[in-house]
C-alpha cells in the first residue's frame, strides 16, 4: 500500500488503472473551501470516495465535517473548489441537484412524516414519480428495497410512527435507494440507536456497498468507524489531516490525528485553573435513571466546583441536567440538596430546592424572545423584586442593569426585545438571569455556549467561573472537548447514558476523554430497545 501521508495518493488524481486493487473513484473533492464570515469552516479540503467503499469522516466538533456534508448535498455553496462525480465536474446549487446526481443524505433528524405510511414516505417528494404512477410497480420496488435492508417484517401500509427509531432510519435509507442514490451520506446515524438497531443499519450499509454503491459515514464513535469502514479521513480545523486505509491505523493514532497539538497544550492543566479546593458537597445524585437515556448516574457536586459532563449528542448528558431541573417527570433515583431529599417532578420543585436549570435551546426554551431584555434578565427573580405581589420597578431596573453589566450585555438594549440581539448576546442574557441569585445551590447549564462564537464563548466561560467562585456548585454539559477541558474542574464522561469516567481536570487528558466519549466499552449493554 501507499505511504500513509503521501499527498499524491490522497488527492484523487490517481488513476484507478495504476493500482488494480483499488476500485474506481466515484466522488472527488478538490481544494474545497468555505468560510462563514471570518470563520474558515473548510480549507483546501481534498478527498475522494471510491465505488463500493464505506468512507469514514472523523473529527471533533468544529472540524468541518458538517460543512463538508452540506456542500456535498447542495445545502451550502463552497467558496472555492471542485466537486467531481463519476469523473464529471458537477455543481450542486441545491439539494435537488444533489438528488439528481444520486447523492443523498441520511440526517440525524430524520425527514420522514410520522403520520404517513412507510410507502407514502418512500415516494414522498420523489423526482421521478409519474403523475399517474403505476402503484403496483412502485409498491413492488419499495418492497424489494425494504427486504434488501432487512425490513422484511415491515408492511408498506404501516405508519412510520409505529416503527422504532432504527427502523425509521432504514426506511429513510430505503427512500433514498428508491431514488437510486449512488452515494449515501450517513451523518451520525447511530447517535440515537440501540445496539441491535445499529447492527441492522450496519448490515444494510455493508449490503449497499457490496452492490457497488458508496457510503460516507460521519461519526464520533471510533468503534463503529473501525467496525464498518474501509477508509477514514480525519478533519481538524477545517483541513484534512490524513486519510488511511482502516487496517493501517490504530485507535491511538486516529485520536492523535483528531486532536492535533491540542493534546500537548491541554494535558498539562496550564490554563490558569486554580486547583479547586474541595468544597462542601451541595448536591448528591444517587442512581439517576431515565428510561431509554440515562442509567444509574451517581454524582456528588460540591460548592465552587465546576463539573463538566462530556458526551456526544444523544449520550444523555442533556437529559441528566433536565432531570435536575425537574423537566423529566419519569426520572427516578434520589437527589439530595444540602442533605435534604428533593422530589424533582416539576420545575417549580427543583427551583424551590435551589436547582437552577438553564436550557440549551435558547430560542425555544430559554428566552422570551418578544419580551424585553430587562424582563428576560429578571424572570427567575421576580419574587425578590416585588413586595406583596407589586413589582418594585426601581429595584427591577437596578437588578437588570447589574446583571447586564455582569453578563456583558449592552445597557442600551435593556428595553429592546431579546429577539433583536445576536445569538451570543442572547446566550449572555439567558445566562445572566441565573447570576447571583440568592438560594441557588446548583447551576445546571445545558450546553452553555451552543452556537456562540469564540469571543462570546470566553466571556460566558468567565461568567460561569465567577458564579462558581462565589460558592455555587456548577454542572454543565458539552459535546465539545475544548470546552470541557477549558471550563471544568472535574470531567465526567458519559456514553450511552452511563458514566464512563470521572477525572479531576488536572489529570484529564484530551485523548482519554475522547476515547471515553466515543467508546462503548463496558457500557454497550446499557441500551436495549
Amino acid at each position: 500500500m501507499n505511504g500513509e501521508r503521501d499527498p499524491a495518493a490522497e488527492s484523487g488524481s490517481r488513476s484507478p488503472l495504476i493500482d488494480a486493487s483499488v476500485a474506481p473513484v466515484l466522488l472527488e473533492v478538490i481544494d474545497l473551501s468555505k468560510s462563514f464570515g471570518a470563520v474558515r469552516a473548510v480549507r483546501d479540503l481534498t478527498l475522494d470516495v471510491r465505488v463500493g467503499e464505506v468512507h469514514a469522516i472523523c473529527g471533533h466538533n468544529g472540524a468541518g465535517k458538517s460543512t463538508l456534508v452540506k456542500a456535498l448535498v447542495g445545502l451550502v455553496r463552497p467558496d472555492e473548489g471542485v466537486i467531481r462525480f463519476d469523473g464529471n465536474e458537477i455543481s450542486l446549487r441545491n439539494p435537488h441537484d444533489a438528488q439528481a446526481h444520486g447523492i443523498a443524505l441520511v440526517n440525524q433528524e430524520l425527514s420522514l412524516v410520522p403520520e404517513l405510511t412507510v410507502e407514502d414516505n418512500i415516494f414522498l417528494g420523489g423526482l421521478d414519480v409519474p403523475l399517474l404512477y403505476r402503484r403496483r410497480r412502485l409498491s413492488e420496488h419499495a418492497r424489494s428495497v425494504l427486504d434488501q435492508l432487512g425490513l422484511r417484517h415491515v408492511q408498506l401500509g404501516r405508519s412510520v410512527e409505529s416503527l422504532s427509531i432504527g427502523e425509521r432510519q432504514l426506511v429513510e435509507i430505503a427512500r433514498l435507494l428508491v431514488r437510486d442514490a449512488r452515494l449515501l451520506i450517513l451523518d451520525e446515524p447511530t447517535a440515537t440507536l440501540s445496539k441491535p438497531e445499529i447492527e441492522r443499519v450496519f448490515k444494510a450499509t455493508r449490503d449497499l456497498v457490496a452492490q457497488g454503491r458508496s457510503v460516507i459515514f460521519v461519526s464520533h464513535r471510533l468503534d463503529e468507524v473501525f467496525e464498518l469502514c474501509d477508509r477514514v479521513t480525519v478533519l481538524r480545523d477545517g483541513q484534512r489531516v490524513a486519510t488511511h486505509e482502516i487496517h493501517e491505523i490504530d485507535r491511538r493514532t486516529l485520536i492523535e490525528h483528531m486532536l492535533g497539538e491540542m493534546e500537548g497544550a491541554r494535558a498539562m492543566g496550564e490554563h490558569g485553573h486554580a486547583i479547586p479546593v474541595s468544597g462542601e458537597a451541595v448536591v448528591r445524585i444517587d442512581r439517576l435513571n431515565v428510561p431509554g437515556s440515562v442509567e444509574d448516574v451517581s454524582l456528588t457536586l460540591e460548592s465552587g466546583i465546576i463539573t463538566g459532563l462530556a458526551g456526544q449528542v444523544g449520550s444523555g448528558t442533556s437529559t441528566i441536567l433536565r432531570a435536575l431541573g425537574g423537566l423529566v417527570p419519569n426520572a427516578s433515583g434520589t437527589v439530595e440538596v444540602r442533605g435534604k431529599k428533593v422530589l424533582l417532578n416539576t420545575p417549580r420543585r427543583a427551583s424551590a430546592a435551589g436547582l437552577l436549570y438553564i436550557p440549551n435551546d435558547r430560542q425555544r426554551e430559554g428566552l422570551f424572545l418578544g419580551q424585553t431584555v430587562e424582563r428576560n434578565l429578571t424572570v427567575v427573580r421576580l419574587r425578590r423584586l416585588s413586595r406583596l405581589g407589586v413589582l418594585l420597578r426601581r429595584r427591577i431596573q437596578r437588578a437588570a442593569r447589574e446583571l447586564a453589566t455582569m453578563a456583558g450585555v449592552d445597557l442600551d438594549r435593556l428595553g429592546s426585545p431579546a429577539a433583536s440581539l445576536s445569538g451570543g448576546n442572547q446566550q449572555k442574557v439567558l445566562l445572566g438571569r441565573a447570576l447571583q441569585l440568592e438560594g441557588t445551590a446548583l447551576l445546571a447549564l445545558d450546553e452553555p455556549t451552543r452556537g456562540v462564537d469564540v469571543g462570546g464563548r470566553a466571556d460566558i466561560h468567565n461568567l460561569v467561573r465567577e458564579a462558581a467562585r462565589e460558592g455555587t456548585a456548577v454542572i454543565f454539559s458539552s459535546t465539545e472537548l475544548d470546552e470541557v477541558l477549558d471550563l471544568a474542574d472535574v470531567v465526567v464522561t458519559i456514553f450511552h447514558g452511563r458514566i464512563v469516567s470521572i477525572v479531576p481536570r488536572a489529570e484529564a487528558s484530551a485523548s482519554a476523554i475522547l476515547a471515553d466519549m466515543t467508546t462503548s466499552h463496558a457500557s454497550g449493554t446499557g441500551m436495549s430497545s
Partner: protein, 319 residues
Amino acid sequence: MARVGIERRPLRLADIALTVWIGILSVVTVYGALTTTGFLTVSNMKAILTAASFVGIIAVGLTVIVLSGNLFSLALGQTAAISAMVFLYSLRWGLAVGILLTLLLGLAIGTVQGFAVGAWGANPIIVTIGAAGLIEGMAVWLSHGESIVPPSDETSWEHLANPLFGLPVPVYVFIVVTIILAVVMRRTRFGRQIYLLGENRVAARAAALPITLLTVGAFGIASLYTAGAGVLIGATSANASLLLTGSYTYDAIAAALVGGNAVTGGRGSIARTAAGAIFIATISDMLLLRGYSTGGQILVRGIIVVVVVVLTNLRERNR
C-alpha cells in the same frame, strides 16, 4: 428609551398594510362622524359609552386570557347570563349579598376552567365550550327555563342602572375596572408573569413560573369581570334569562382582537382592548344612525375584525 437602529427589524409589508388600514379606518370614522346626523351630540356619545361598557368589562377581563397565551374563553356569554340570573335571584338577601354571591360564582366558574387548562394542559377552546354547555344546562335546570325577575320589595338594585352625574353606572364601572386591571397587568408580578407565559410557554416552564396558578388567575379574572358585567346587565334589564347570553362572547373577542392584541399571547394590553371595545361601539352606533340593517352592521363589524386580526398576526409572525 433611546436606541440605535442597528439591529432594528426593517419595515415590512404587514407593518405598512396595518398602518394604511388604521389610516383608512380613521378617515372613514371621522368622515362618518362629521356627516352622520345626530352622531356628534352629547347624548349619542353617552349612548356609545353605555353600549361599550358591558362588552368592554367582559373584554378587558378576557384580555388576561389572551395575554397568557390561552386563546379565548367561549363561555363568556353564558357566564354573563347566569350571573345576571343569580344576581336578580339573590337580591332577596340584599344588594350586597347579591353582588358578592354573583362575583364569587363567577370567580369559581373561571377557576375551574383555568385549572383544567393550566394543570392538565387541556385545550382552552374545548374546555370553555364545554363550560358554556354546562353553565347553560345548569341555568335551565335551576330556573326551570323561566326568566328571573327581581323581588318586588327590593329596589336598591335600580341604582346600578340609573344615571349618576349624567352617565349610567356601568360606564363608571367600566372605566374603574379597566384602570385597575391595566395597573395589575403592568405593575404586579402576576401581570408580568402572564405576559411571559403568553410569550413562550415552554420557556416559562423551564424558568419555573407557576403556570397552573397563572392560568387559574387568568380565567378567574376573566370570569369575575364577566360576572360583574352580568350584575350590571341584570340590573339594567330587570329580567334575566339565557336570552341574555346574546353575542357577548363574540363581541368581547372582537374587541380584544380589534385592539390589536396578539392572538398567540404575550403582546398587547388592557388599554388596547378597551379602545377596541369603544371603537366597535362607535362604528355600530354610526351604522345604526345611518340606517343600516342589523345584518349590515354585523357584516361591517366582521370585516373590520377580520382585517385587523390578519394584519396584526402577519406582523407578529414577522417579528
